[in-house]
């Protein structure tokens, strides 16, 4: 069954970074079979990345700490091989893959390693890697022109050009939309299947693990807690939850009906699993029930015009016929937004969704007044953004950009939070700052440089910056990207708690969990136009719209849809309330 040599074999590996007080890896024993597709999961600081860097020799050849034990790759001891030699065996794609690209064009970057090693067939290797990842068409583009997903594929191709037998990918889908995340995983699965490459991914998303991985390693405190086939691994929901890896929603649903035993991993499996246990919708289901009519198109929402009905909440922002575009280095201007009519009202929690390049960020910059539209009018709080400077508008609107480290302009979190109120000489700035810091639970790190905090802390710090500006309209670009799920839930909870202070919040996001759990209005952008403007439940009941906008709804809504629930459930408890065992003998019961 098992091939004679393991792709990677780790024996008694202990490692401590120079100057560190604790061992990062403590006695790791692990065997990864050739041709496996392994997901390494674990909480922050559990040693996942360090372990993977031991596979390609960066530990200990580059990071020279105290190391005991051995790592064998393709049967050879990494201690005897240099990082350069090991790169022919193990390809590594970083979490911040953009920084891995060092040459100007895609083709040149992919060829970089084969050329450095002086391989005579570098040209074939390059073409082959480009072809394998389907990026031949963009081979002559400059790497800084690429989208995040394309950059990732380029980095992957660069590693693949050395034809490694093992490919390590650190959090491949942190910053791409859900459909693209699936695409990247499909590529990895294809490499695994057709080329027999052993794939090791470090991943937070249990749903992706469930769908693509064959075995799972759970890292805890610097050593693997276990290494199990995927179905068994995901059935250990308690272990996963302890490591901040919430189980996939379908698994959570199944666990509510059967506290032990095997669990389904995908939506279709769950449908069958529930059928076998005779669990179904509580009220006689309405299979094929008609989806509520979603108004498609710009400004179709009732009250799309300026408030005239007395009981309508006040208008916070109003866009009329807005169009915008950018000029690229060469070629004509690309239109990013065309003919956008929107009205944002007080009390709304708006999610702005759509694929990469659909115009979400552009719409936010227009609302923030960082740019003025080329066509149409943007009014925020009654003021045309053309009439005031962006700095003046900042008293009303706060825009938190996608990369949190760009929000840190001072050398401590406290100074960053204080920057806006202090600059405008707001009375009681000190109290305000203290209060915001306390509320965002940043008291302990307030003196530290924001850039050196963890991802979750950085997001909280940027939210604190926004809160201290006391905006009427809060704009957030991807507030949950590259966060582990615990930090993500934190951010969603914080956003919910902010509702009482901020009139209207607009979030541009790929995170459909955020949409389902937080938003009360979803605006779908597609090709620079408003494709739909609906509630999350209405949107998730429309597969045609979802597909067109490349959205993948949370598993629980997919499951609800498959079971014929109407309206579709948005969270696990909601679904559980509406399901019931048809026979009272079934063990366990939903809440």
């Amino acid at each position: 069954m098992a091939p004679p040599t393991a792709a990677v074999e780790v024996r008694g590996l202990t490692f401590r970074y120079p100057g560190a007080a604790h061992d990062t890896l403590r006695g790791v024993d692990l065997r990864i079979e050739a041709g496996d597709f392994v997901a390494v999961v674990g909480g922050n600081g559990s040693g996942k990345t360090t372990l993977c860097k031991a596979f390609n020799g960066l530990v200990p050849h580059f990071w020279s700490g105290d190391l005991t034990g051995t790592v064998l790759v393709d049967g050879r001891d990494t201690a005897d091989l240099s990082v350069a030699e090991l790169s022919h065996h193990v390809g590594y794609v970083y979490q911040d893959f953009g920084n891995q690209l060092v040459r100007p064009t895609v083709r040149d970057d992919v060829a970089f390693a084969p050329v450095n090693f002086g391989l005579a067939d570098w040209r074939e290797r390059t073409d082959e890697a480009l072809e394998a990842l389907g990026i031949t068409a963009i081979a002559d583009r400059f790497t800084w022109q690429l989208s995040g997903g394309q950059q990732h594929l380029t980095a992957l191709a660069g590693a693949l050009a050395l034809r490694p037998s093992v490919l390590v990918v650190d959090e491949p889908v942190a910053e791409v939309d859900p459909a693209r995340a699936a695409e990247i995983y499909e590529r990895l699965a294809w490499l695994n299947r057709t080329l027999g490459t052993t794939v090791v991914v470090i991943e937070h998303h249990a749903e992706l693990v469930a769908r693509y991985a064959r075995s799972v390693v759970l890292m805890a405190d610097g050593a693997p807690a276990w290494h199990l086939p995927v179905a068994e691994a995901l059935a250990r929901t308690d272990d996963l939850a302890a490591a901040d890896i919430p189980a996939p929603q379908v698994t959570a649903v199944a666990r509510a009906f059967a506290p032990t035993g095997p669990v389904p991993l995908t939506v279709p499996q769950t449908v069958r699993w529930l059928e076998e246990r005779e669990v179904g919708p509580r009220v006689a289901g309405r299979p094929g029930g008609e989806a509520p009519e979603v108004e498609v198109g710009a400004g179709a929402r009732p009250g799309g015009e300026v408030a005239s009905v007395p009981d309508e909440p006040r208008v916070v922002a109003h866009l009329e016929g807005v169009g915008h575009g950018y000029r690229a280095v060469s070629g004509p201007r690309t239109e990013v937004l065309t003919g956008i009519d929107l009205t944002l009202r007080e009390g709304e929690r708006v999610a702005l969704v759509g694929s990469n390049g659909a115009g979400k960020s552009t719409l936010l910059t227009l609302l923030a007044g960082l740019a003025v539209p080329r066509a149409g009018v943007v009014r925020v709080d009654g003021t045309d953004t053309r009439d005031v400077s962006a700095a003046e508008l900042a008293d009303t609107v706060c825009y938190l950009c996608q990369r949190p480290e760009e929000m840190f302009l001072q050398d401590s979190v406290r100074a960053d939070v204080a920057m806006h109120p202090a600059g405008r000489r707001v009375a009681g700035t000190t109290e305000l700052v203290e209060e915001v810091l306390e509320r965002m639970q940043l008291g302990d790190v307030a003196h530290r440089d924001g850039r050196l905090l963890s991802g979750g802390q950085q997001r909280r710090a940027t939210l604190a910056v926004g809160l201290a500006m006391r905006p009427r309209l809060l704009l957030l670009d991807e507030p949950t990207s590259s966060l582990d799920l615990r930090s993500r839930d934190d951010v969603i909870a914080m956003l919910t708690a902010l509702a009482e202070h901020i009139r209207c919040t607009v979030v541009a996001t790929h995170d459909m969990h955020l949409v389902a759990e937080w938003a009360d209005r979803v605006i779908v952008l597609d090709g620079g136009r408003v494709l739909a403007d609906a509630t999350p439940a209405e949107l998730f009941a429309r597969p045609d719209l979802l597909e067109r906008a490349r959205l993948v709804p949370p598993q629980v809504t997919q499951l609800g849809l498959a079971l014929g629930l109407d309206p579709v459930p948005l969270c696990v408890p909601d679904l559980l309330r509406r399901l019931t065992p048809r026979t009272p003998t079934t063990a366990g019961a939903p809440a």
Partner: protein
């Protein structure tokens, strides 16, 4: 959550946005960025750096371009004849235009030249100096002008790959060649990041309180912002580089430093063609001709 004294009362009196003074249509309105904007400068820099415009040097072998640059860049230093310098200046201007250096560089160059001329003339007039001193000034101006135009023409025509290949071919250290191409790669990122940071300062920093006399307040504000942007920019760049250094190790960059096979592969595509030879011969001939003409008519401008 308990009541929040300073946060909760969002309806408490607070400075409303001030649309009043400028909301009238006749007031100064913000443009849509079609004219001279940060965005335009950014794009223009990218076009220059990545040689996207073409031009007569763009398709030559990079070594020939560097050779051309040496010939045309050194020649002005070999003479004090204003005739020769004027000729070389005109030729350099022609070359720069033919290399399509673009409006930004040309504009900056013209601005610099004009500014310098104005201040020299003012100085001469103010100090009641000898007008013949102007001649010396003109000489040095022509010299510097010709050299800068030639430099611009050469580097606008070399994209990062060509430049680093040329350096490698001429036996410059591998790190220098790599540094050049990596620098080019980082430029767009740094420009974008700088833009974001400056935007952050604009939005969150103390608002401008008028322009001040001759705009000194604005000038001071911009200067302070630029200095303050430096720290986050460098720190972020340092964080990026950590991954890059590791990646270079895994991608055989250090291996290539003591192995010549990579260098040979990288340079295999370089070919000195007929066009390159013609370019060099013609440039040398033209420069020599300029010197001959200068010797024949030494006093045209003097």
């Amino acid at each position: 959550m308990t009541a929040q004294p300073t946060l909760a009362p969002i309806d408490a009196p607070r400075p409303a946005p001030k649309p009043a003074p400028r909301s009238a249509p006749k007031g100064r309105r913000r443009g849509d960025g079609d004219g001279l904007s940060v965005e335009w400068v950014k794009l223009e820099l990218m076009r220059v750096a990545y040689a996207t415009r073409g031009g007569f040097l763009a398709h030559r072998d990079p070594r020939a371009v560097l050779g051309w640059y040496v010939v045309c860049g050194v020649a002005p230093w070999l003479t004090y004849s204003t005739t020769v310098l004027a000729l070389l200046f005109v030729l350099a201007l022609g070359a720069a235009l033919a290399a399509r250096i673009g409006p930004l560089l040309l504009g900056l160059f013209a601005l610099g030249l004009a500014g310098q001329a104005v201040y020299v003339l003012a100085l001469v007039w103010f100090l009641g100096g000898d007008p013949t001193a102007i001649e010396g000034i003109v000489t040095i101006q022509l010299k510097l002008g010709a050299v800068s135009l030639v430099s611009m023409a050469a580097f606008v025509s070399l994209d990062p790959e060509k430049l680093s290949d040329a350096l490698l071919a001429l036996r410059a250290p591998a790190v220098l060649g790599f540094g050049v191409s990596y620098g080019y790669r980082m430029v767009p990122l740094l420009i974008d990041e700088f833009h974001t940071i400056i935007d952050g300062h604009r939005l969150r920093g103390a608002p401008a309180r008028g322009h001040g006399l001759l705009g000194w307040r604005t000038a001071r504000r911009v200067a302070v912002m630029t200095v303050q942007a430096f720290y986050p920019l460098m720190l972020n760049a340092a964080k990026r580089t950590r991954t890059t250094v590791e990646a270079l190790e895994t991608r055989g960059f250090t291996y290539a430093a003591h192995d010549d096979a990579g260098r040979r592969i990288r340079l295999a595509h370089l070919r000195i063609g007929v066009g390159d030879v013609v370019l060099l011969v013609v440039s040398v001939a033209v420069v020599v001709a300029a010197f001959v003409v200068g010797a024949a008519y030494p006093g045209v401008l003097g």
